[in-house]
Symmetry: C2
Subunit: 342 residues, 2 copies
Amino acid sequence: MTVNTQVLLKSRPAGKPTIDNFEIIDTTIPGIKNGQILTRTIYLSLDPYMRGRMSDAKSYAEPVPVGSIMIGGAVGIVEESKNDKFEEGDIVVTHTGWQSHAICDGRGVRKLTPSSAPISTALGVLGMPGMTSYVGLKHIGLPVEGETLVVAAATGPVGATVGQIAKIKGCRTVGIAGGAEKCAYAEDELGFDACINHKSNNFTDELAAACPNGIDIYWENVAGPVLEAVIPHLNFFSRIPVCGLISQYSMTELPSGKDYLPLLMRCILTNRTRVQGFIVTDYNTDFKEFISTMTSWVESKRVIFKEHRIRGLESAPEGLLELLEGNNFGKTIVEVSEDPTV
Amino acid sequence: MTVNTQVLLKSRPAGKPTIDNFEIIDTTIPGIKNGQILTRTIYLSLDPYMRGRMSDAKSYAEPVPVGSIMIGGAVGIVEESKNDKFEEGDIVVTHTGWQSHAICDGRGVRKLTPSSAPISTALGVLGMPGMTSYVGLKHIGLPVEGETLVVAAATGPVGATVGQIAKIKGCRTVGIAGGAEKCAYAEDELGFDACINHKSNNFTDELAAACPNGIDIYWENVAGPVLEAVIPHLNFFSRIPVCGLISQYSMTELPSGKDYLPLLMRCILTNRTRVQGFIVTDYNTDFKEFISTMTSWVESKRVIFKEHRIRGLESAPEGLLELLEGNNFGKTIVEVSEDPTV
């Protein structure tokens, strides 16, 4: 009998999560019933939103119950099917979470059609992070030729795609990333007009210098000191799509010191800035448009991507902790089992 | 020769403005040239935005230069006209500021057509504050039947109108005001479902109790502690039209203590809240629609209004200071000279 390895949420983190918040167990796989499919996970996606699901604070999604499998998107292969819609060997995108195998009824499972892109991109540029970038710009960022867009975590899967789409739309694009290597990649490979190292002592001045015409769109992935540095440069009618807040996910209480809320509110009033949160699933009806447009951009290399590969499901907890510290370089993909397409 | 009394901005305030920031002078009125009109000010409007124009911080409008006439909307009567579009005796709305008389070329001057409402309403419910309420709800607040709207400064000209429009749209309306008398007026006369006294020791609890289904629209007039109390109750897809920030206009530095910015950002992300600043003049094309709709609401008493009258132009500086402290009760109107229509 095949063993199913699963990573469970063992406890809720108080502040920064640790390895001890996870537990790895082996279970056995029961036979599947009519209507079900058995999938073997090939790639597991690690994403910042997972930090939110580890907590039970009010949010847009239910938290992962303690003792349950960590949620997450995955690419797998159908090993057995008693569902008319799937055949053995189908490559599928699922939401079956952090486990080596899964049984499900096929709902929410999408078959991957052959493409020139590797199947792992269904978790990145051609998946949730890519679509997040696409719909956030389409509905909130609203890039206009000649405007300046700033995005932090610029070499991550969302930031990199946001920057490249904004470039296609004719914007000046300024990335923010942690370290010289990432900044060089953002400028040389991703085509950002500039990329500023947020670890630099002169970060604020360098950001200002990179935005001589101010900032029209600030794509919010991180909040914290980056947001505080951006606010004084926001232009009239600027937009801030709020996609993530990685710097504050593990905050246990409001920080002491200056209160920056009046600074943001004043900026919003005097510039008529629009700040709006969103979740990719709010725009599911855009999926066909997204996948068609983005596939053509990827095939023509107008949009490129970079993966940060981790080997083995048992490495996923450490991989998520590293991601939350910004120690990934590109889209974090866990190689769970062999990819038959390469 | 007629004397023109003018109130000048003498100096920029450091923090709270004082009487010493203003200077009252008497000048003489020159003869008017072809194309010009001479108006006598009947009513001068005092509004919170004037605090912003006293400062030279970056904003949506140019500051009043030191030594110049304070800006402001007024209702006047044409005393002399060398402009084909105006006749002696016309009642007009102007932007001629804090002075007893003015000469202008007629641009931006609107003739008041006879209406069942007093001419001073052209500075209130049928003027800038009323239109601010109308367009802010139409374009950003987007009230839907059954939703809950919260507005502070609920007996001021904007807050009162916002609450009454939201009621017409079928919302539960919760006002916030300073003192029992204002709260009683908001509930008994303006039709708010509840009005909470922000000076109450139990303000936060009382606000929560008044919003059993959370808050869908928070109309921002004030910021500060009211905003902090509202944030935890905001619903999914809530909207915050940012119209004013009266609690922080005279702030000289960011306050020390807790940093509430992460609280707002988390709220925006997890609720997909939209926070957006606006200025009434961004929506000038809505004027005809506004004036037609609001006039019918005022005539049918579906929207009522209250004025806080001050006598004499020389009282305007003190009137503005009182307004900024929340000591007005209704729309502040300075009676500058006799109203021939009453």
